[in-house]
């Protein structure tokens, strides 16, 4: 059975202010969906609400991953069910090494007694780090502490590769990356494309989509998906900006809850 991810009527608010005003989206394994839109339209809120960030309160809707209700799961259960969020601002955690952290994350998915062996884990991690052109010393560095913006993003992709999720959400993974780093990250994502994995890529630049070809493009404004299309939509947005969308839909201020 291929992966199936359905968001229906999702509403979420922060500190009583509604940001998501009913999101509908359906994704299948093998598909890449891009969500585009100007700043402040609710894109990152969508990512955080899907993962279960404690600051966001979901007030309505449902999110089904392979027919299981994600919204009823705790954050860690969502992750173990197959959801992965590559974050825009990953936390820095002092004293916890990258390798200890990732090994805990992998073992959290395994039965007690069948934990991954240290040797096997290190080998896997070193191989993936090589793919991402990361210095092996990052294994032993404290999690994201003192990492540059680009290093943090690569570290997010490294985690994605190690954890083998079903649905990958990447929140502004391209921000702060130079073109070389962008290519490396895109290669990492492309290497992970498979029939049973879906991607939801949030960005407000077209340039990432030059390297990761989306099947579907959605535009978010005012906390809703206001327009959907194929890859050609991304190209038009790149060429003409967002004004024509606003005009077409009669939107004056595209932001929400600011």
């Amino acid at each position: 059975m291929t992966t199936n991810f359905v968001i229906e009527g999702l509403k979420a608010s922060i500190e009583g202010k509604e940001i998501l005003k009913g999101i509908n989206l359906e994704m299948k394994g093998g598909e890449i969906h891009a969500i585009m839109g100007p700043n402040g339209t609710g894109k990152s809120t969508l990512a955080s609400a899907l993962m279960g960030h404690p600051k966001y309160e979901v007030t309505a809707g449902s999110v089904l991953l392979d027919n299981e209700e994600v919204l009823e799961m705790a954050v860690d259960e969502r992750a173990r069910a197959g959801l992965f969020l590559g974050m825009q601002y990953p936390s820095e955690i002092s004293g916890v090494t990258n390798s200890d952290f990732l090994r805990s994350a992998i073992n959290a998915r395994r039965e007690e007694g069948s934990e991954i062996s240290l040797i096997r884990f290190i080998r896997q991690m070193e191989a993936k780090m090589k793919d991402l052109d990361m210095n092996p010393e990052f294994l032993h560095r404290y999690l994201n502490e003192g990492f540059s913006g680009g290093e943090k993003k690569r570290n997010e992709i490294l985690q994605m590769m190690m954890l083998d999720p079903k649905i990958v959400i990447l929140d502004e993974i391209d921000s702060g990356l130079d073109i070389d780093a962008l290519k490396i990250v895109a290669n990492g994502v492309n290497a992970m494309r498979s029939e049973d994995r879906g991607f939801l890529i949030i960005t407000h630049y077209q340039r990432l989509l030059d390297y990761i070809k989306p099947d579907f493009v959605h535009v978010m404004m005012q906390g809703r998906i206001v327009k959907s299309g194929g890859p050609e939509l991304a190209h038009r947005l790149e060429a003409e900006g967002y004004d024509w969308v606003k005009e077409e839909l009669g939107i004056e201020d595209e932001t929400v809850g600011q």
Partner: protein, 435 residues
């Protein structure tokens, strides 16, 4: 407000105990002077801590102990603390009021190292003991130091001769399990010129049917060019009030390193200080602490710079759960003339419960222009963003919090150069965290 110290012993009986123990006259005299002072002095005034509300009275009485000939006759709880290398090596064990086991490796004895209970040393090495005892921590400082000087028992005397480098750590264990017995060990270490030594000790309690005060003092004299590493782990049960003073006096180019694990379950006050007397002398203090239950804790690290070119480094990290309270003080004092001194200190407190209270007080007192000094302090709860981040990778909340807590202590724990001690501390931290 004046709190009259209630003396646990009178002059006659203190004199009698001293005579019975065949102590030299100077020591008997010293104890009696100290007892008199104890009657006049007050408890130390600690930042935001009311020591007068703690149990500081349960001293019991001196009780003679019988020496044992084999480690197998020690309580099981103590046997587990003996480090592998000390099973055949150098070890002193104190049980309540007296030392019951002493062993010094023949190799060290040949090199002239002295390692025995302080009581015996006062007779056998009277001149040496007399010229150093209570010279770093003076009996007249407050009621606690005075009572200690009057009552101390058992204890350790360690002397490392000039140029002798001791590679294996020497170890001592202090056990209290009788509420009627005074428990006040005194540790006196003298590292002579260009010598080096590592000493590790453990403070534990067994089953006690009442309360005990541990009033302990540690004095370390680091001579020119000598290096002393002092590691101590306190893991008393909640029946024990722990009052501990530790102080080192460091001469030219000498170095003292403190590693302190505060893992008690009862109220505890400790004051760990280094007096950098000589030029080029240095100190490095690492303290990790975990508070639980209704514990009240007050931990101070100090560095006092007199010598020129003297670096000091002090780090305290405390984790507090349940209703525990901790006041963490760091005091860097740079005296006039201590040019090129460099004093750095960090105190960090992580609170795991809304009822836990932590306070970090970094204090820099500088009377010299040509110095560098810095401090950092923080008090906070487990960061929910960090917990969310770890959970978003499939790690459970409990596991995520554990990672963050161990991560908080790791920068200090990972720096501990003794593997056995590091493992022991990690296990104690886990136990204290109830995991």
């Amino acid at each position: 407000m004046t709190t009259q110290t209630i003396l646990p012993v009178n002059t006659e009986s203190l004199k009698e105990i001293s005579l019975q123990n065949n102590e030299p006259a100077w020591l008997t005299e010293l104890r009696l002077e100290a007892l008199e002072l104890a009657g006049q002095l007050e408890l130390p005034r600690l930042e935001k801590t009311r020591l007068d509300r703690w149990n500081t009275q349960s001293y019991g009485a001196y009780q003679a102990t019988n020496v044992i000939d084999s480690l197998e006759n020690l309580p099981m709880s103590v046997q587990g603390l003996v480090k592998d290398e000390n099973l055949e090596g150098s070890l002193i064990v104190q049980h309540n009021s007296g030392v019951v086991y002493t062993h010094l490796s023949s190799e060290l004895a040949k090199q002239g190292v002295i390692f025995m209970d302080l009581h015996t040393a006062a007779t056998e090495h009277g001149d040496l003991v007399k010229s150093y005892l209570h010279k770093a921590i003076e009996k007249g400082e407050n009621a606690i130091t005075a009572l200690h000087a009057a009552l101390w028992n058992g204890g350790v005397f360690l002397y490392v001769p000039k140029n002798v480098e001791v590679t294996l750590p020497l170890q001592a264990i202090f056990l209290t399990d009788k509420e009627t017995a005074t428990f006040a060990p005194h540790i006196l270490i003298i590292a002579d010129t260009n010598s080096s030594v590592t000493y590790v000790d453990n403070y534990v309690s067994g089953e006690i049917e009442g309360n005990v005060v541990h009033n302990g003092s540690v004095e370390v004299f680091v001579k020119a060019g000598a290096k002393v590493r002092y590691a101590t782990v306190h893991q008393f049960g909640n029946e024990v009030t722990d009052l501990s003073y530790r102080r080192a006096v460091v001469e030219n180019d000498g170095a003292i390193e403190w590693i302190v694990g505060e893992m008690n379950d009862g109220n505890a006050m400790s004051d760990t200080s280094s007096i950098l007397k000589g030029n080029g002398s240095s100190t490095d203090a690492k303290v990790i602490a975990v508070g639980s239950g209704a514990q009240k804790l007050n931990y101070t690290t100090r560095a006092q710079h007199f010598g020129k070119n003297t670096p000091s480094q002090m780090i305290t990290r405390a984790v507090l759960r349940e209703q525990s309270t901790a006041i963490i003080n760091g005091i860097t004092k740079i005296e006039h003339g201590a040019s090129k001194a460099d004093g750095q200190q960090t105190e960090k407190v992580l609170m795991l419960s809304p009822k836990a209270r932590g306070d970090a007080n970094p204090i820099l007192l500088i009377d010299e222009d040509d110095v560098t000094a810095g401090h950092a302090a923080s008090v906070g709860q487990v960061n929910p963003e960090q917990v969310y981040y770890l959970m978003s990778r499939g790690i459970s909340r409990t596991e995520a919090e554990a990672l963050i807590i161990y991560g908080f202590l790791a920068p200090v724990v990972s720096q501990i150069p003794l593997e056995g001690l590091r493992t022991q501390l990690q296990a104690l931290v886990e136990r204290k965290l109830g995991r």
